[in-house]
Symmetry: C2
Subunit: 401 residues, 2 copies
């Protein structure tokens, strides 16, 4: 890779991402609510769960077969009188008569006096007696109570995002509800006089608003509850009013647009007097960025170009939001770059790319307005800030979109 | 690995999985419904989408700056009269007077007569004139209409599961709704006299029903809509009635329990006369399996041990269900096994395991009833059928749970 030194006038991606992570980390301490176990899939467990029961609950048979004493089948073949049948679900309190066999189904209680089970495959029976063809040692095919988990033992740790296997364990120990964290609640507020909602006719100079819908989808896909998606014109009064509504209802607010060098930068104009920091981050796309805290609520201000908005989300917000939701980290691979690329000096570049069996290639069209092009991408190709040219075949970092 | 030949008396995992996949593949042809784009995240696009508009919709500025003719700034510095300001959202029909500059914001229409934009950073202005310090060639910082996508060009292919970047593109071209496939509708029907629901007190011989809740969670996590979760005792009349309710409302039915060698195998007893196939698959856990088609609806019958049920789902159902939902395939890695393991001859074994930085290790407790143990696992370790012993350090296949 060719490289030039990074200019010092803007913040680095790493520094700005760290600042955002520090600002958002307190959102880990969220309200706890109890939800029914069948509705707990994907939720983040708020407290460690101990088992309220032994599992297995009682000593039971691992097989369909015959409960016997091992000493009765020490020499085989042997014919034992059949003293009855114990189905799964029966109390299983009838003792095994000495020298006899009791038929047991998988999961049925082992009768008092029995110490092993001979699987049905190794027996023959006429209904009144059973011929056992293969002996068993004490304990064989017997599931002892508490051998999976004992009452009071840890079952699932706090902070786990509940997968189907956790749901299975919670149900198996008979828990009906579990304490989970409320998800982070986010509000999305887009800006720009030129934006109109989908489904309406465009007048000259207007375009469709994609950032609101796209950010809401990106948030939902990363474990965040989207409580509102609103749009403001470039009127500061309207923006301030919608911002207050957003901070009133959400733990975190995302804005798009109004952060760069134009004459009508409503987001910067309203938030800077409230203590917001606006400036340039050494990244492409997505250079102009703002971070504020309004009424205790963090406000992340992304630039308005659709690709800039989405890449800003991927780079600055998604990793910490996934961590706070207990989701697995964003997948990062190292792959050979299939085409040479150039990159601006001093800015970390995230090219939209596609993975092939041979490596990764940039999709055609890398402008920050090329939102249709981004739909054809699967990954971001990460070109370090100091690099200005990358030869084909170079190994590059690639993060899944 | 030590190995012995596979016995021929049972079906192999591969053969049985192929049979299930063939049975389920027709579920790809599902009903199509139109949903609002903001609600389409994760849905499977039923038809290819072409763009209804050019994107960019009109020729616009890529920067905050000054729209000029390149020839006016061929020699710099140069002072040009400022003819006005075009904000984003304005019609932009005012032509650029010859030799003048018009201030334009990012996204604003390029005025007729201009052919490039000089970014504001390379200018100075007193409000009535602008001093341009750096020239630009025709086309620079101008986004031409249709350079992202043209009206009628393909935007997103059919069969794509809609990610946030697709939602962004759909919104950007102004689509309000998209055609998506209805998800596969599944019913879950558990069986067993011994099972009671969570939250109730256990009587002797009873255990909590985890399979219904766990299968429902596993289905939901893999793009399937669960329409009902019911439980039947081992009474064939009750099971038949609940089975009819399930096949009436669902595209696919899962049952658990009642498929092995006991005296009260209600699933096998009811489904075999209806044409169901029941038998042994060379897998551990999960050997006894049943597959039926009732009133045109596939019915997959898994064994009742909770771990057997979940592993059956992972091995036989999850890969094809993910494919039919347009989800990425189950992640399979190859990792060194950290502890030696033994495996039954002739049966492909799926051990519950945990991934460490050094490789993969089995979790303690591999019995098919150890549902709490399964909650501690993250992966299944795949031991081929012919293998009976695997040394520590051997590379093994590992699939994410």
């Amino acid at each position: 890779m060719s490289s030039r030194p990074v200019r010092g006038t803007t913040r680095s991606v790493e520094e700005y991402r760290d600042t955002i992570e520090q600002t958002l980390r307190p959102l880990a301490a969220r309200a706890v609510t109890r939800v029914p176990v069948p509705e707990a899939l994907g939720r983040l467990l708020a407290e460690p769960i101990s088992s309220p029961v032994d599992l297995p609950v009682f000593r039971n048979s691992a097989m369909d077969g015959y409960a016997v004493r091992a000493e009765s089948v020490a020499v085989t073949p042997v014919t034992l009188p059949l003293a009855g049948v114990v189905a799964a679900g029966e109390p299983g309190t009838t003792p095994l008569p000495p020298g006899a066999a009791l038929k047991v189904m998988t999961g049925a209680p082992i009768p008092p006096g029995a110490d092993c089970v001979v699987p049905v495959e190794h027996t023959r029976s006429d209904g009144s007696a059973v011929i056992v063809e293969q002996g068993r040692a004490a304990g064989e095919f017997v599931r002892e109570a508490g051998t999976d988990v004992r009452v009071g033992e840890p079952l699932i740790s706090a902070g786990v995002a509940l997968a189907p296997r956790h749901i299975a364990a919670l149900a198996a120990v008979g828990l009906a509800e579990v304490p989970v964290f409320e998800p982070i609640r986010a509000a999305v507020l887009t800006t720009g006089d030129e934006l109109v909602p989908a489904g309406t006719a465009l007048r000259p100079g207007q375009i469709y608003n994609s950032n609101g819908i796209a950010l809401a989808a990106a948030l939902a896909a990363n474990g965040v509850a989207v409580v509102s998606v609103a749009h403001s014109t470039d009127d500061p009064v309207e923006f301030r009013r919608l911002l207050s509504a957003a901070t009133d209802s959400a733990d975190l607010v995302f804005t798009s647009g109004g952060v760069s060098q134009g004459d009508f930068e409503v987001v910067k104009e309203v938030l800077r007097p409230l203590g917001g920091t606006f400036g340039s981050v050494a990244v492409q796309p997505g250079g102009p960025q703002g971070l504020s805290v309004v009424d205790g609520v963090p406000v992340l201000s992304f630039p308005g170009n659709p690709v800039s908005t989405m890449v800003s989300f991927e780079v600055f917000a998604r990793p910490i939001l996934r961590e706070l939701a207990g989701l697995p980290p964003v997948e990062i691979q190292e792959l050979p770059l299939l085409e040479p690329v150039r990159s601006p000096a001093g800015r970390r570049q995230f090219l939209r790319g596609r993975v092939t069996p041979d490596g990764v290639e940039p999709v055609s069209g890398q402008g920050s307005h090329l939102v249709a092009g981004m739909a054809r991408a699967e990954v971001l190709i990460d070109i370090p800030a100091e690099v200005t040219a990358v030869a084909a075949g170079t190994i590059v970092g690639v993060r899944a979109l």
